[in-house]
Amino acid sequence: MQLIAALNAGNESAFLELCRAVEGPLRGLLRRFVSEAAVDDVVQQTWMRALESLGQFQGRSRLSTWILQIGLNLARNAVQREKREVPLPEEQDPDDGCFTSVGNWITPPPTWPDSLNDPEQVAANRELVQHLETELRKLPDAWRAAVVLCDVEGLAPREAASVLDVEDGNLRVLLHRGRARLRQGIEALLNAQV
């Protein structure tokens, strides 16, 4: 609440501190929901909406979480306005087809190169990074949001659950399915390279 008081007092340093904490995850989230051209607009709208509604912030979550919720809602509205095709909700676990009815592997995962365990080598692999970005954008909205918040932007699962307004257990399911689909995406890339 000290931060709120500082913001209300017009303290620019306090706002910049907030910006540093929020803007990376906010942009990261918005980039995967609205067109690249609309991201800056939605970021500005998010800040303006948050500042104008500051008096309504009740401290039930972190301020950063609350701002990310505002951003996500604005992004969802922007998507509806753009009338982009919204994929049907996908409930099925991506790995369902890999197992028999009694839970044994049908198609076990093939071996991956060791380089995929090294974050520096992964970051330097432009093809892989681009492929991951493409696959990420294909995920159902809720899976994508969970993966972006937790894995891409590094939010704690509990905070991500608050942003998405879901229970911790539900977040785990969304995250698991998103990661499982992306793991399959990497596998497909490796198969294509053989």
Partner: protein, 74 residues
């Protein structure tokens, strides 16, 4: 009873979760230790999660203009 391969792979996110029963977590850990296929899957699942950090968005301060406009309005 130990989890199946299907179940073990679905329990990867709760291995350290205190809200999940110790027996369930122990069963999953035991399975992952001795099943090569699930062990490989678990490593790939974690590697995927780590790889996604390469897509992180740099922080910025583009909200500053919104802040100044809001402050100017009083």
């Amino acid at each position: 009873m130990l989890p199946t391969c299907r179940e073990a792979t679905q329990l990867l996110d709760v291995l350290d979760d205190a809200d999940t029963s110790l027996l369930t977590r122990w069963g999953a850990r035991f399975h992952l230790r001795y099943c090569d296929k699930c062990h490989r899957f678990a490593n790939q699942y974690r590697a995927t999660s780590r790889a996604l950090r390469a897509l992180a968005t740099p922080s910025g301060n583009s909200g500053l203009s919104a802040f100044r406009a809001w402050r100017a309005r009083g």
